[in-house]
Amino acid sequence: GAGVSQSPSNKVTEKGKDVELRCDPISGHTALYWYRQSLGQGLEFLIYFQGNSAPDKSGLPSDRFSAERTGGSVSTLTIQRTQQEDSAVYLCASSFGMQETQYFGPGTRLLVL
């Protein structure tokens, strides 16, 4: 079946602009996760959704970052007033349940100029 999809695949923006990143999880997966992968660093957890609720937002680096999930499916990660340090690959993953294996999408490569 179809895997996790993310859009756009690449995004170049100017410092101070807002960006929205989209994630479509695997059909039937109730849990959805956002991670960030900066150059030369490991994957960093951002936020976790179970259904439409986000019980764990502990990884969001600042209040400029927010995420929502509608209909228990698609999720959007929004970064307001982007900074150069926000440049990274943003990865989305989904799993059948909270404790199950997470499957990753291809990522969105964000470059803030």
């Binding site: 996760y33 991670y35 957890f45 990865l91 404790q99 997470q102 990753f104």
Partner: protein, 112 residues
């Protein structure tokens, strides 16, 4: 503090030269240890999950093993297409079951 450390950072092998990658972890209450493969410009691809010490999983030329403090990913007679970054991650009770804590990865290059 929960921590995952992978070694070596980079590994260069000749085709057919077997080796092992290491993932050591300190975590309160391991729920599962995961291995992923990541190719340049792509998202991590799931390989294995290990749940308890002594457990082993195999897939083609790869075998993953788990002890109470570390996991190994053994690569037998590697081929150039095995070149990738291999990521280890743990899912820990102390952090809730939901998030994975990743190591920095091992970059593997297999040359013909």
């Amino acid at each position: 503090e929960d921590q995952v450390t992978q070694s070596p950072e980079a590994l260069r092998l000749q085709e057919g030269e077997s080796s092992s990658l290491n993932c050591s972890y300190t975590v309160s209450g391991l729920r599962g240890l995961f291995w992923y493969r990541q190719d340049p410009g792509k998202g991590p691809e799931f390989l294995f999950t290990l749940y308890s010490a002594g457990e082993e999983k195999e897939k083609e030329r790869l075998k993953a093993t788990l002890t109470k403090k570390e996991s190994f990913l053994h690569i037998t007679a590697p081929k150039p297409e095995d070149s990738a970054t291999y990521l280890c991650a743990v899912q820990a009770v102390s952090r809730g079951y939901n998030k994975l804590i990743f190591g920095a990865g091992t970059r593997l290059a297999v040359h013909p």
